[in-house]
């Protein structure tokens, strides 16, 4: 909390200001507004390309791993749920928040690693950035999502370090958590549009 002066005049009827949403969370939400529009832009561009194509999916391209990614999506959703749980625990009992928090972090990292593994396989099967419109959009959209996931995980890891040292404030946890909820929340849309 920053110190806020009351002024040189004693004011009885003017209460001090208490923000509805903390600075960090509000700032993060504003950032995520832009990122939401970024995904909206890419996804609608993809939808237009798909609708305008005479043959879809483009011939000679590998099938996207719908089932494996569905399982991986569940891992990501579980990670988000665990983080919600951790955040709730943190406001009651700080110690008990650690386990779900680091479980969420681990599952999130697992999601990104599995996606990377999937990319390597798809590139091996001939789906590349240049091979077709599907490849271009797939790597663009999923890649931008992965970049967000990695940034959010890095932020969560820093939050975790603070948590271990006992310096973590609830608003700091909330700031990093909101970022991760965005990554988790936008993924089902990406999955639904790109993979199906």
């Amino acid at each position: 909390m920053r110190s806020r002066g009351i002024g040189n005049i004693q004011a009885v009827d003017v209460p001090p200001r208490t923000p509805v949403v903390s600075d960090g969370v509000l700032g993060m939400m504003l950032f995520l507004l832009t990122e939401l529009m970024l995904f909206a832009g890419m996804i609608s561009a993809f939808a237009i390309a798909k609708a305008g194509a005479t043959v879809w999916p483009p011939p000679g391209q590998p099938r996207l791993p719908i089932e494996a990614t569905a399982a991986n999506s569940l891992v990501l959703l579980a990670s988000g749920a665990l983080l919600i749980h951790a955040q709730r625990q943190f406001s009651r009992d700080r110690e008990s928040a650690r386990k779900p928090f680091f479980a969420a972090l681990t599952l999130g990292t697992g999601f990104v690693l599995f996606q990377g593994f999937e990319w390597v396989q798809l590139i091996g099967q001939g789906l590349t950035l240049q091979s077709s419109a599907l490849g271009s959009f797939f790597y663009l959209i999923v890649g931008v999502h992965a970049a967000h996931a990695i940034a959010a995980l890095w932020m969560l890891a820093r939050t975790g370090r603070r948590m271990l040292s006992g310096w973590l404030q609830p608003s700091q946890l909330a700031t990093a958590a909101v970022f991760w909820y965005f990554v988790v929340g936008v993924w089902p849309v990406v999955y639904g549009v790109v993979y199906w």
Binding site: G5, S22, D23, T34, G41, S44
Partner: protein
Amino acid sequence: MATAPATHEEHDLGHHEQSFWEKYVFSTDHKVIAMQYMFTGMAMALIGGFFAYAFRMQLAYPGMEVPGWGLVTPNDYNQLVTNHGAIMIFWVAMPVLIAAMGNYLIPLMLGCDDMVFPKLNRLSYQIFLLSAVVLLSSFFVSGGGFGGAWTMYPPLSTKAEYSLTQLGSTIFVVAVALEFVAFLLGGINFITTAMNSRAPGMKLYDVPMVVWMIVVASILFMASVGPLIAGAIMMLFDQNLGTAFFDPDRAGDPILWQHLFWFFGHPEVYVVLLPAMGIVAEIITTFSRKKLFAYRTILYTVFGTGVLSFTVWAHHQFVAGIDPRMAHVFTVTTLLISVPIAEMLFVYIATLYGGSIEYSTPMLWALAFLVEFLIGGVTGIYLGASGGDIYMHDTYFVLAHFHYTFFPIAIIGTYAGVTYWFPKMFGRHMNEFWGKVHFWGTIIPFNGIFIPLFFLGAGGQHRRIADFTVYPELAQMQPWREFATVALLIMLAFQVIFLWNFFYSMFRGRKAEKNPWKANTLEWVAPSPPPHGNFPDGLPTVYRAPYEFSHPDHDEDYWPQNEPPAEQKA
């Protein structure tokens, strides 16, 4: 005195003595960052103005050796107009109107000591400076700077065999992308500060109009820039990684870029317009000694304009290829958006009505803004209607129209703001006489430049042609082009007066007291110039709305926001 300010002061005065670098280069103080943005913007304006000079000389006297540039080849010409547009919008209008004015005014007008995220703020400027350097560096790579217009339409921007600037095109996109990151960080700061750091007692309806306008502009920017970032990534991929997002030969769609660009590009007009409208609102209330007419109506109008501005973008594609049914929809929304803007102009005129108007230099600029922007708005109606646009598209009529909107916004609005807040920024007054000379020396030639361009455009003169004398039917209009260029030269010459007045007054001007214009908002409570931490006597408390001029219950004709009511004084 309450105890809270004491702890606050300890917090501020606890700073060690700052070195030059800490104080002026790597500062996190919002005022220093505002000045950095302003001076960088001014330097870029000189470059953008120089570009305009070079290509206007070529248009008026084709094939001449332009003093200071040399022969303007067709390739040079394309680079000059492209970068003139990009610089004036992204590196002049945005940094000066939003970043400089926002950074300077928001914490002062809200009565707090700094932005909510000062380090993010510093990073914002550093990225902005980097983006400017990156853009200018494109002129020195092989092939030169990008020349495919500031709107970067593919295939000119994506295919090196058309643009002939392989590296220049990529550098251009990277520079614009960096600039967006800078304004993203700035916008986060502005909105969060306005929501969470207002002075005690300042309700949302007590926030000065210019702060609201900058906040709404930031929201518009942040909500509209996402699709353009998506487009910029796709363009960089097309340029460098062999994808075909915008390449029709390989199942891409070049019109897609236009949609992504203008989804941002049209709200962007309002992103820069609103801060200028806010600056004008502050000035006309102060210099007509009247309460701002219909504060809440303006505010709702601004929100309405913001929402509506997301639904007009495809009027830029009337000719590019759009379903005629969609063209009708976008014609309606485009014409509709002139309603709230016209309403704001009327409300401003209502504020002036019956006021005791003082024609100071800032007031002259503010009034000129209303008049000149009106011309820009009215000529836009011809272009917003798809039928009219098909005839006018890509002519000088379009060019003259948007210069009648952007020049009032970026130049007149900035001069209004700078002359109004100069005493606060530097603790000294600018010279009024030379201020007025500069005003008339700018406004008259400005109309001299662009009114002829309306005629040229209506006569069928296409944009983006370096030499019109090769077209017999256009060659006969050469006197108009020469007239516009001479007017530009006169206008540029008068800017020297401003620069001299600005820098001379900064050091030698008449000293200014705290509240030289007798205005009400909180920035006038702080000393001129405000020290680090802004309010050395403790942060102010707010008791009333920002525009209580000539209030019947008050003896003086102004009533500062922080002045406690009479019964509390006793």
